[in-house]
């Protein structure tokens, strides 16, 4: 893969004191769909704005096709951008909005007309060219914004929480459409969101941001299966977290003792040496219940606190180790619903549990 953009030790501070982005190294490959995922305020928009040319890095450099970018003004970067509130030009019609990037590039009139039509066709809005943006629904505006960012065939398209203003159904649909456009056009996309499920479903790779740093950069499955620290583990997907102390550890295995003395074995991630605090993380679907728990390396018994029917699975809340928020899943269609208050065996294998340093948990 060829890198089209690379960030080299890029830092940004707005006020000269606090860093909003710190020592960012990031490479974006030609044609990939890269998502910047992180909680609000973690520096995603700032990163995007530096790439688009609306903010200047305080230190470090960004390269586009190997050439430094920081002295190049936004209009010479050839980067399409979709803004969160779309930033459609309210005084221009939809067709004029789409024609704008081509006009400022002095394309011939016939070509402009033809490409605007094609772009409207592409986002499946062939009839709205004459309307003003205010006369469109939110979903339609979003598609026009998308078409406008793509119509001049930029090297790179940036999208800053482009679906944030849409309702859930429309959002799911647009996720699919954006994905399909990416596959069809082969354009490189940098996508910003704070919604982890959106990031997981859309991306080739995800960069998890927290506190102005990239905590992990990986493909969605890798990110979900092997988060590299406690923050990523808890931010991406649902997790049970058991806080305790490392009793023993070697290169691969950590044994962790909970406050009530319970011991469990987990795959050692960044957990410290014996005596250090540790957090063991287990995904609910890896927490096996009832008879299935019998073969698990870590086996316990708890009381059923709550059972919620989810159609394809049951979601069981258990009380054990002096708490009552342990979540497990059970396939439906099994024998009988566990009764509230009944004892239930649960467990997980060492490979399904990961021991982390709790200091790296916060954003």
């Amino acid at each position: 893969m060829v890198d089209i953009v690379s960030f080299d030790k890029v830092s940004k501070s707005y006020d000269g004191r606090a860093y909003v982005v710190r020592d960012l190294d990031l490479s974006i490959a030609q044609g990939e769909f890269l998502t910047l995922l992180g909680p609000s305020g973690s520096g995603k928009t700032t990163t995007l704005m530096m790439l688009a040319g609306f903010e200047v890095p305080t230190s470090g450099e960004i390269y586009l096709d190997g050439k430094p970018l920081s002295r190049r003004p936004p209009h010479e970067r050839d980067i399409g951008m979709v803004f969160q509130n779309y930033a459609l030009f309210p005084h221009l019609s939809v067709a004029e909005n789409l024609a704008f990037p081509l006009e400022v590039r002095h394309r011939p009139r016939a070509e402009i007309r033809q490409r605007v039509e094609a772009a409207l066709e592409m986002v499946r809005l062939p009839q709205v060219g004459a309307r003003k943006p205010a006369q469109l629904s939110g979903g339609q505006q979003q598609r026009v914004a998308l078409a406008r960012a793509l119509v001049f065939e930029p090297r790179l398209v940036l999208m800053d929480e482009p679906l944030g203003a849409l309702d859930k159904q429309l959002r799911d649909h647009m996720q699919y459409e954006i994905r399909a456009l990416h596959d069809r056009l082969g354009v490189t996309v940098v996508y910003v969101t704070h919604d982890q499920s959106e990031a997981l479903t859309m991306s080739n790779r995800i960069a998890v941001f927290a506190g102005g740093r990239v905590r992990q950069l990986a493909a969605p499955d890798v990110l979900y299966e092997t988060p590299s620290d406690l923050f990523v583990a808890t931010f991406v997907g649902e997790s049970n977290v058991f806080a305790g102390t490392v009793a023993a550890r070697d290169d691969t295995v950590a044994r962790v003792a909970l406050a009530d003395g319970t011991a469990m074995a987990a795959t050692a991630m960044d957990a410290g040496a014996a005596g250090a605090a540790a957090a063991v993380v287990v995904r609910p679907e890896k927490l096996l219940l009832g008879p299935l728990a019998e073969t698990c390396e870590n086996r316990f018994t708890g009381q059923v606190a709550d059972v919620v029917y989810h159609g394809d699975h049951l979601r069981v809340r258990l009380a054990a180790f002096g708490r009552d928020d342990i979540i497990g899943r059970m396939p439906t269609g099994g024998p009988a619903l566990p009764a509230i208050g009944a004892s239930l065996a649960f467990g997980f294998d060492r490979a399904a549990a990961r021991a982390y340093d709790p200091a790296h948990g916060a954003g």
């Binding site: 040319g53 609306f54 200047v56 002295r71 003004p73």
Partner: protein
């Protein structure tokens, strides 16, 4: 953002132009202030010696003292009338639609745009028949009319942002319409009412044309004295009067700004 040289030049030019325009706006006010403490006879620089004699003339002479009293009294009375009538009207306009509302609104706002001389000459004829020329009542009525649209507009703006479900909530909680108005609506639109009142006061405090046409010779106001002072024998007492007027303006700006911030904050908390 990384800026092209043109942008940098344009940015600097723009800042310089804006600064010059701001200077153009404020310089005249600053220029007249020092002359109020001049010892000279004329309203010209350089200042010859420091003296408070013009302030003495302004505050102590029979003429000016009367003008000061009149200006504040007329302004306060006219603003009170305008505020009460204007607030009621603005609430009425926001309350429901009725036939002819557009026309009524146009009439209520018309004092903002009718050239003042036309109104003043009209008053001169019309009030003569009522025996209202050369009376303070006549001047107060005229100034109340001129001030009322400011109240209608500011209270109207406050009501446009007012969430009418609050009134329903209040009556749902058992408040009578009058109590709901007093305890819920009035406190929220109060900044708008007060702002309108200050606008109405300022409109009267600054008004000279209707006074020229309506008032008897001995019915002086500050602007009227300034007008004839500027025309006939311009002296630094004009500067002393200006100082007082500018201080009044500063107080008005500060109060209005304070009210604006308050209502903005209240709205943000509500939202």
């Amino acid at each position: 953002m990384p800026r092209t040289p043109i942008e940098r030049v344009a940015g600097v030019t723009l800042a310089v132009v804006a600064a010059l325009v701001a200077l153009f706006l404020i310089a005249p006010l600053l220029a007249i202030l020092p002359l109020s403490v001049s010892d000279g006879q004329f309203l010209v620089y350089p200042i010859r010696g420091f003296s408070l004699r013009w302030f003495e003339t302004f505050f102590a002479s029979e003429r000016w003292a009367l003008a000061i009293r009149n200006s504040f009294a007329i302004g306060a009375t006219a603003a009170s009338i305008a505020t009460v009538l204007g607030t009621l009207a603005a609430i009425g306009l926001a309350r429901a639609n009725f036939r002819g509302k557009k026309f009524v609104t146009a009439v209520l706002l018309s004092p903002l745009i009718v050239p003042i001389v036309i109104y003043a000459v009209g008053l001169y004829f019309f009030f003569a028949r009522m025996g209202l020329t050369q009376t303070y009542t006549g001047i107060v009525l005229a100034h109340a009319a001129l001030g009322s649209p400011f109240v209608v507009v500011t209270v109207g703006a406050a009501l446009a942002n007012f969430d009418h479900t609050l009134m329903r909530a209040a009556s749902g909680l058992g408040a009578s319409p009058l109590v709901a108005f007093r305890r819920v609506m009035l406190p929220i639109v109060l900044p708008g009412v007060l702002t309108g009142a200050l606008f109405a006061f300022a409109a009267s405090f600054d008004e000279v044309v209707t006074v020229i046409f309506l008032a008897a010779p001995q019915q002086r106001t500050i602007p009227r004295e300034m007008f004839s002072g500027i025309r006939e024998n311009i002296s630094p007492v004009i500067a002393a009067a200006s100082v007082v007027m500018i201080v009044t303006a500063v107080l008005l700006v500060a109060t209005v700004e304070w009210l604006r911030r308050r209502s903005l904050r209240a709205r943000q908390q509500a939202g």
